[in-house]
Subunit: 429 residues, 2 copies
């Protein structure tokens, strides 16, 4: 393969002609494909249908400790659900509050609460002139949307293969007291699939924030979402690490079963220090009488315990693995050596991150759409939707069927090629 | 019956002696009774066990319009759940957003959102020197807890048999721009069981608030919670009324199935004008990807439609009616004519409100506790937990069994009598 940049203008134009014909053919098929969101596929959702049978009119909906799960009460989760989520989150049960159907909502509430009430006695953020959050990029658009919604200034922190650039993180956190938080997806990061290295986690835990109310927003969304049994990324547990380094209150850890059982009908949890949880419970007791305990019970009865949950995740992996491999294979076969894009091959999570030539991402997404393939909007992986290099594209291979995915991947690489050629021609002048 | 105040000191002392013996006997029984919270009883919860059977692993969890309820998506509720909640709330489906398991959470979020973002372009309340809410009293402690949590000043508005004192409401709302809201439980009010009269609702709809971002927080928690089929209170629909009077945006209406199916595992909804809903959806889209659609589907499949839901409510009424009647009967038989307390006999809802002699409520609740009966804390029905007259006690007859309830009611009246005698003796000097 010759890198596109080494081709002559004539060669590029020739190539373009051929690819354009190919593209027009694909376009003519009237495809309707979607690689935009990290949605589980029908086959994955089917894995959890048994959850609809574990409770029925003959089942007493009574928790281990006698709690009638149908009634009011129990603010922070039934005992057995706390245990399950604690095991999943690798923390002790005292460090967990089980919440409603979405960890996103817990994160939103955490920021909202800090805005109106501060954290552990600090000034409410809404009363400060300036509040900033660090945002490892590329990252998760819904995280950035929360901080944007509350008028919090977001600062891009480049990702490295070991996680966020920790020199930069330390520089900001330890010296700027307006920096109040950082968004992290520490395992199989969204969208790159990078798992923070041991050193990275230790440096996180070793931060000495200028702001006493600085919090690490540790969204471990893909903690058990490995693709390969024999080759799993390993993430150091942050709560224990923070405690070890004398900063037990510095982190909020989030997780949910959204991509384990039913997206949108799962259970979620926050893990944090006792002090943090006490404050959260206090505010939660104003907000709700309690979350859906019947759904908590349903999850526990379905999985029984963490081993059951992990066994279940292997079935997910069996569905996801070939999809990831298809996309990676197409990328490698079609783009390998062309030097018009790069990607990381993840060992878990929900995404593949693609970096196009600078200034090409938007055009590629638009081109793909022309042929009926919806991708995540270019820029979405950056705060304010602004990718300074217009280069990153998030690929979400989970939702389409394997057949659709093969077609989608081909439409994608075709779009990458065409837009890249145009870019190179433009640069050649 | 002679009113206690007409008895001589000696007669009161005599009476006290006898009642004290009675009380000691009851105390000796080591009772453990609870009339403190508006929790459905086991028998009521059993009514909804069929809900656990309507979805199973063989049921496609697909909505009317093809939505896979198991997956992400659909911010404001599946079509059929919106229809059900709209019918229950007596509004059109366009005016409804279906949310999670608790309307309390929607109310909290509404206040929280106004604090950080204002309402329809107004200044965020957190940025104002003073924000006030009107609180019809006695009222619902969890409402007051929300406004207290956000540092909003609460102003007591006396209830009348027709609803809140509307002269006072108009005076405040129409002339004080720091008054941003009022908490209402318009049908079978908590705790008095009063339904706002037609004139009251019309005067609400006719308010001309000094603050453009004033909102009526209309918590129609007991909209279909009638005790008697033939004798139901009728409440004018507030959204339509507000629209008619040219103030469509002035009201947020809340409801849930918490006391229809499973408390804590129901579905909730907010109804409001298009403009309001647009703003709420925008903020909700940051907060969550969507609420639990499987539970929405479960509710619709169980009830089918509003008629099914209403038929279900008759079964609740059959359980609740004798309980209310037991309490009222004991109150009438034991306290009638004694002039040491008054109460309203409600036709629905969850509570009976008891007004003791001034300065006696706290002592009565404490006395009852001595004999093993837990009542709602005296003062709880007022903002800041402060009943200026120390007179109001909320009786929640729903949770105990009928047998327990008879005993509980007797312990209660015994406590009322003893504390009242002490009060009268004290006043006699």
């Amino acid at each position: 393969m010759t890198a596109y940049k080494d081709l002559t203008k004539e060669e590029l134009l020739d190539l373009k002609n051929g690819l354009t014909k190919e593209f027009e053919e694909v376009k003519g098929k009237g495809l309707k494909l979607d690689m935009s969101r990290g949605k589980p596929s029908k086959a994955q959702l089917d894995l959890s249908m048994g959850m609809m049978d574990v409770l029925n009119s003959g089942t007493p909906l009574i928790g281990e400790d006698g709690t009638d799960c149908r009634n009011y009460g129990v603010l922070d989760g039934i005992k057995e659900a706390k245990q399950l989520m604690a095991d999943m989150m690798e923390v002790s049960v005292d460090h967990v509050i089980v919440c409603g159907n979405a960890s996103l909502n817990i994160m939103y509430d955490a920021v909202s609460r800090a805005m109106t009430h501060g954290i552990l006695g600090s000034t409410p953020w809404a009363k400060l002139d300036k509040v900033k959050f660090l945002c490892p990029v590329p990252g998760y658009d819904r995280h950035f949307a929360i901080t944007e919604h509350f008028g919090i200034e977001m600062i891009n922190i480049p990702m490295t293969p070991q996680g966020p650039d920790m020199d930069m993180v330390e520089q900001y956190v330890n010296h700027d007291e307006s920096v109040k938080g950082i968004w992290c997806v520490p395992k199989y990061s969204n969208p790159q699939g990078i798992t923070y290295s041991e050193e990275t986690v230790q440096r996180f835990a070793g931060l000495t924030p200028a702001a006493g109310d600085f919090r690490i927003f540790w969204d471990n969304a893909y903690g058990i979402h490995d693709l390969y049994e024999e080759e799993q990324d390993c993430l150091l547990e942050i709560l224990a690490e923070c405690e070890k380094q004398g900063h037990p209150d510095m982190v909020y850890k989030f997780s949910s079963t959204s991509k384990i059982t039913f997206a949108g009908s799962g259970i979620s949890a926050i893990a944090a220090s006792e002090k943090n949880l006490k404050e959260i419970r206090k505010s939660m007791s104003i907000q709700t009488i309690g979350h859906d305990k019947v759904n908590q019970l349903r999850h526990v009865r379905f999985f029984k315990d963490i081993d059951g949950m992990k066994a279940h995740m292997k079935k997910h992996a069996d569905i996801m693995r070939p999809k990831f491999e298809t996309v990676v294979q197409v990328l490698e076969e079609e783009l390998g050596g062309l030097a018009i894009g790069s990607w990381i091959v993840p060992k878990g999570g929900y995404f593949i991150s693609f970096d196009a030539l600078e200034g090409c991402a938007k055009a590629i997404v638009a081109k793909a759409k022309e042929a009926g393939l919806v991708m995540t909007g270019a820029g979405a992986t950056f705060p304010y939707g602004k990718d300074p290099k217009d280069s990153n594209i998030r690929i979400a291979p989970s939702f389409p069927t394997p057949e659709e995915l093969m077609t989608a991947a081909k439409v994608f690489v075709l779009s990458v090629k065409l837009v890249s050629i145009d870019k190179l021609l433009e640069q050649a002048g």
